[in-house]
């Protein structure tokens, strides 16, 4: 994924990564709709019982998926038939990995066609064993950086990041906000100053205008709650239309 992202960046392209809750009714079609609408990669959420980084919308989708019987195994199985040409990443909480075992889980991801993983409750200091297993299986581990990080921490996070650095846009959990937080551009700027790895802003990027604002500094955006809300309200078609709108705004 990182190679592709760097090449696109070099060509002046802004990166767009929508998030879809795996296992939610219609999720596969939503992934296909994102791909068709011009997403550069897709983050597939693997629902967890205790999602501490997620706000109400993604919590709701996760809970619905779990109640519908979704498991990491069923989602990865269903992902095999997605047949989209852009990179697919998973977003999951660490216990899902820990429980399955690092090597085993990395192999499961690879076999399901995933190329990257985002684990929001696995900070740098605890990431060693998973990153080693992921590296060995060819899975890129995206690291998160937060506005609270002191300057000396950012190069260390960036050095461990594969795929891209996830620049957390604000102090808070996932969810739509009325405006892009000031912290979003500030952190992305600090990261861009210390790394060549693509920097994408996520958490609190809530519409096309905010996405466009974010990429004035960052290489791209991750959009979660605003996409999942459309999945809940209008299914795959609504997701496709929305992602296409954001794509157009980024390409203007």
């Amino acid at each position: 994924m990182e190679t592709e992202f760097r090449a696109k960046r070099a060509a002046g392209h802004k990166l767009l990564v929508p998030y879809i809750t795996g296992g939610y009714p219609g999720w596969q079609n939503a992934v296909r709709a994102c791909a068709a609408a011009g997403a550069d990669a897709i983050e597939i959420g693997i629902p967890f019982s205790d999602p501490v980084m997620d706000g109400p919308v993604i919590q709701q989708a996760s809970q619905a998926a779990l109640e519908g019987g979704a498991t990491p195994v069923s989602i990865l199985h269903e992902a095999r038939s997605l047949d989209v040409s852009i990179p697919l990443a998973v977003m999951l909480y660490y216990n899902t990995v820990h429980h399955a075992g690092h090597e085993r889980f990395a192999a499961q991801l690879r076999d399901a066609g995933m190329v990257a993983a985002i684990v929001p409750d696995l900070p740098l200091e605890e990431s060693g064993p998973w990153c080693a297993a992921a590296d060995a299986a060819g899975i890129e581990t995206v690291m998160l950086a937060a506005p609270t990080a002191p300057d000396e921490r950012l190069p260390r996070i960036a050095a461990r990041a594969r795929g891209f650095v996830y620049s957390v846009g604000l102090l808070g959990v996932t969810g739509e906000r009325s405006a892009l937080a000031d912290t979003a551009a500030a952190l992305a700027k600090r990261l861009k100053a210390v790394t060549e790895v693509p920097v994408l802003i996520g958490v609190g990027v809530s519409n096309a205008a905010q996405a466009k604002e974010a990429v004035q500094v960052a290489d791209g955006v991750v959009m979660g709650a605003s996409v999942v809300r459309r999945l809940i309200e209008g299914g795959a078609d609504a997701v496709g239309e929305y992602v296409a709108d954001v794509r157009r705004a980024l390409d203007e």
């Binding site: 205790d50 216990n95 429980h99 696995l122 998160l144």
Partner: protein, 386 residues
Amino acid sequence: MSLMAEPSASGRFGEFGGRFVPETLVPACQELEAAFVEAWADPSFRAELDDVLRTYAGRPSILTECTQLGAKLGLRLVLKREDLNHTGSHKINNVLGQALLAKRMGKKRLVAETGAGQHGVASATAAALLGMECKVYMGAVDVERQALNVFRMKLLGSEVEAVHSGSRTLKDAVNEAMRDWVATVETSHYCLGSVMGPHPYPWMVREFHRVIGQEARAQSIEMFGDVPDVVVACVGGGSNAIGIFSGFVDDRSRLVGVEPAGGAAVSRAQPGVVHGMRSYLMQDEYGQVQEAHSISAGLDYPGVGPEHSYLSSIGRAEYPNVTDAEVIKAFQLLARTEGIIPALESAHALAWIVRAAPELQGQTVMMNLSGRGDKDVAQMMDVLAL
């Protein structure tokens, strides 16, 4: 070296503990660790805390020998009376420590989770005492079964938010408190209520409860001329148990932590990671955290503090579990034989003592009476249909 020494630099007790939190919270945990280390080594901070524990919380708590019940069970039973502390449980020890520390760090607001409401009430109390804002998250199920404590918190000037996600009990209240902290970390301190969560909480909270064990050991030697044969405490997250165990872990005393049958994380001995720590955790075949079920809201938690997992893994402490039915009997037994109404949580410890009495004949048994049962009276009125 003590078996309860400092954890490793990464916050490990053996292979348990750690700091599994969103990146946003890492600097806050590091800052808290540094502030705690500095304050704990500062005699003026220790003196300030000791003073407030003595003049406000009512320490030291006494030992009470249960002569009637002891004779009935064929053993010498003494209670460490944490139920007599201000706010009615051991929770105040930790809360006063954390609130003073938070204030020292310049934080203006406390965030707390609560199960039965004891930690929430203690947090609301400390916030009122120190002039801080306080917001308490409580599972919607618990708000209902502990309505009296919800009112107490409000009376003390705190905001209480009912949590409707997940199992709507303690674990979900922790999730919501962590989400709040992620958003407010610059001004708020997360006043975590047990020996759980990310490093440095399990260690820091243990140190704030160490006073229970220190007092209990000295009192035991005064009373028996020896440490007790057995030390018993209930375990949800495990803070009152860690407190009293800390006084005896390096002695010959048998240490028993009693879990509810519906929340027996240690018995299952399956490590997992949630709420910032690696510890034993009730989970399904995919690592989804399971819901605990207990008559006592305070023990309705699917995990356990990492140091308990460690003490179990090395065989230093044992963690049996008791059923709700045994707890209900023990609750009434202490009331009728000794005139003390225990918290439902603490009644778990007594339920095990009653069950194990045949093998404890003639032994000295110290039980941590971690809280009083006033908060449970309305619930028990329904259960017992008296």
